[in-house]
């Protein structure tokens, strides 16, 4: 796994508009820090027959470039719902969401597809690998949709991403031939293969044992250090502790947003003025 990490180090070159590795976004002194993720008073309501389910009840959250944020909260508190909106997989019922300063509601369908492809890497709670398709092909797919024509390059990058998550010997396995943890790692490789500047992960360590969890968190640390924005959902305190900032959700509202207690590296608090009241 050490080898895997060193190959990761090679792979994690700079994301497209990235600051110097290791440097804080704050280092851009003088200029107003650009919020890469800017969620404003977002609500999400599902209509279940006559009953309206309020999954989000007015959430405001601003994440700056290069931040490492953990979202925690009880089951059903709306974490995944918020993450889907941040990942441009779903639209809010009310409120606005600005990604890199652009209102997502104003984007065309194709623009949203391209954002999902290039800017965001998304790791689902339930993996969502394409069945009857090998691990390598699953990981290669975002590159196909990203318009990379050379199949040699696609293959090379997909192999590198899979090797990085420790699946160098499972290229040709189909999802149903992989363990839950291995599927999870294929999903992570797929999220990273396009080299996105934002990584969103919904309980990425849920299916991993403690050794694999540490391995994965090292990957996330590395990504963070190289300047990527990382947002992950977790139930586990030690996972949340690795982040700079911990956002707690309850019943569709943010109840706390504070720097991680044991978080390594720089810690910052970004409390937006629109912090929803408890």
């Amino acid at each position: 796994m050490r080898g895997a990490l060193s190959s990761l180090r090679r792979m994690i070159d700079r994301p497209d508009p990235a600051p110097e590795p290791g440097s804080s976004p704050r280092a851009v002194a003088g200029s107003r820090p650009a919020a890469v993720i800017d969620v404003r008073q977002v609500t999400k309501t599902y209509a279940l027959g006559d009953v309206a389910v309020h999954a989000l009840r007015g959430v405001s959250l601003s994440v700056e470039r290069g931040e490492y944020v953990a979202i925690i909260g009880a089951s059903g508190s709306g974490k995944s719902t918020l993450m889907h909106i941040i990942g441009c997989l779903d639209l809010p019922t009310t409120g606005r969401y600005l990604l890199d300063g652009i209102d997502v509601a104003a984007m065309s369908e194709d623009e949203l597809s391209d954002v999902r492809n290039r800017k965001i890497g998304f790791v689902f709670q339930s993996f969502n690998l394409i069945p009857r398709t090998s691990a390598l092909q699953n990981v290669e797919l975002p590159l196909v949709y990203g318009g990379i024509r050379s199949s040699a390059e696609r293959l090379h990058r997909a192999q590198r991403a899979l090797t990085m998550v420790g699946l160098g010997d499972r290229f040709d396995h189909q999802p149903n031939e992989l363990s839950g943890g291995q599927q999870q790692r294929v999903a992570i490789a797929r999220a990273l293969v396009t080299n996105p500047s934002i990584l969103l992960a919904d309980e990425p360590t849920g299916a991993l044992d403690s050794a694999a969890t540490v391995e994965l968190l090292d990957i996330f640390d590395r990504l963070h250090t190289s300047g990527r924005t990382v947002v992950l959902i977790t139930h586990e305190a030690d996972v949340a502790a690795r982040a700079q900032r911990v956002v707690r959700l309850r019943d569709g509202r943010i109840v706390s947003d504070e720097p991680s207690l044991q978080g390594s590296g720089e810690r910052r608090v970004t409390l937006t003025s629109e912090m929803s009241p408890v």
Partner: protein, 412 residues
């Protein structure tokens, strides 16, 4: 659409072989059955057409009485017994200024119930007819051996007979026998066999080979008598295109000879051409083809519904997959391209297999009919199958591709 979509589509087809095979089977059966059944209908039409052609398309027949298709029916009305076609009528029609478009004429003077005998074997003649030498060319009769009735035979009232194959078989024991020069007795009068007719087609419309032909003059001498008339006069037009002109010339000549108006004449005699038969039979065989085509179209429709079903289920089952693809950056056009290629490949492959099956199937005789493939049915069936495959592959895929990724992912 790019090469990747084709690759992804191929993976999709290969990833679910049974489903792909079933889809293709549905299209194949639909296309194949349309082609084959229309070919059977078409084949029967062609065979009827051929047997009518062998009668001669320039042939006209004048029936005494109301005629075959006209009022009164053939030789059954009271008038047909009184008013008959006579030798004088034949003479008048032979005059070029009366009927310039008629090239040849022959009376057909029938006597029913004549029994022939030879050397102890007897045979009841199917049709015992007195004719002119021109009868052979008009009715497309040819002799297998010997010769046909000559002009001299007619003038001399010669007692000579030309026999059909069946007659030879009944009287001489074997159809291949050569009875030229032998004597045959027809109800008391002895005739010399001078020719044997070639076997004609097998159509039921023809008199087949049960004919015995003698000179018309001899017929009147010994059987029907000079006062009686002919039951028919056969004529040929100068060419197939002048049949209608010849028909009206014959009608007006005979009507004026009999002192009748054209309307009255329809009860006295009627003139039929082969084209009358052709239109009657083509319309009935057309009905047959349409009927078969309808049955086949229903099977294509049922096959099509099967394809729709499989496609709908497939895409519904793959809504989640579409959601995943969109989540990792597929555009709507990528998804549509993938399913378009899949649907086109499946339906074209199925259609080609169906054409193959239809073509192979139509090599064999089906219920006695040799199928003849109609090109339009190939295009129609193939086009329809592809349209069905395309529409029901693309429509649900498009529906899934327009969903938000998360809704497609949650789809159950």
């Amino acid at each position: 659409m790019n090469r990747q979509n084709v690759r992804i589509a191929l993976q999709g087809i290969a990833g679910n072989r049974l489903r792909s095979a079933l889809t293709m089977l549905g299209i194949m059966i639909g296309v194949g059955s349309v082609i084959l059944l229309v070919a059977v209908g078409n084949g029967s039409a062609v065979s009827i057409q051929n047997s009518i052609d062998s009668l001669g398309t320039d042939t006209l027949t004048v029936f005494a009485g109301g005629g075959f298709f006209g009022p009164g029916g053939r030789s059954t009305g009271a008038e047909s017994q009184q008013i008959t076609l006579t030798a004088k009528d034949v003479k008048n029609l032979e005059k070029k200024y009366n009927a310039p478009d008629v090239s040849a004429l022959s009376p057909v003077d029938q006597d029913g119930g004549v029994t022939a005998s030879h050397d102890g074997s007897t045979w009841t003649a199917g049709s015992f007819e007195g004719v002119y030498p021109s009868y052979a060319s008009i009715e497309n009769e040819q002799v297998r051996s010997g010769s046909f009735i000559s002009e001299a035979d007619l003038q001399e009232h010669a007692k000579v007979v030309v026999l059909g194959t069946t007659a030879v078989k009944s009287l001489f024991g074997s159809a291949s026998d050569n009875p030229i020069g032998d004597q045959v007795n027809f109800s008391g009068t002895t005739f010399t066999v001078i020719g044997v007719l070639k076997t004609k087609g097998s159509s039921s419309i023809e008199k087949l080979d049960t004919t015995a032909l003698i000179p018309a003059t001899t017929m009147q001498d010994h059987y029907t008598g000079t006062s009686g008339g002919y039951s028919e006069i056969v004529a040929s037009a100068t060419s197939p295109t002048t049949v209608d002109a010849a028909k009206s010339e014959i009608t007006s000549t005979l009507a004026s000879d009999h002192g009748l108006t054209t309307t009255e004449a329809s009860n006295d005699f009627s003139v039929e051409s082969a084209s009358t038969l052709i239109s009657a039979s083509t319309s009935s065989s057309h009905t047959f083809t349409v009927l078969l085509g309808a049955v086949a179209a229903i099977s294509l429709l049922v096959g099509g519904i099967g394809v729709m079903n499989i496609m709908l289920v497939t895409v519904t089952e793959r809504t989640r997959e579409i959601g995943i693809r969109k989540a990792i950056g597929a555009r709507r056009s990528d998804i549509l391209g993938q399913f378009l290629v899949e649907a086109v490949l499946l339906s074209v492959l199925g259609g080609v297999l169906g054409i193959g099956a239809g073509v192979i199937g139509s090599l064999f005789k089906i219920v006695g009919v040799q199928p003849v493939i109609a090109l339009y049915s190939v295009f129609l069936a193939f086009g329809f199958a592809i349209l069905i495959g395309l529409f029901f592959g693309i429509y649900p895929a498009n529906r899934a591709a327009t969903l938000r990724p998360i809704d497609a992912l949650r789809y159950e």
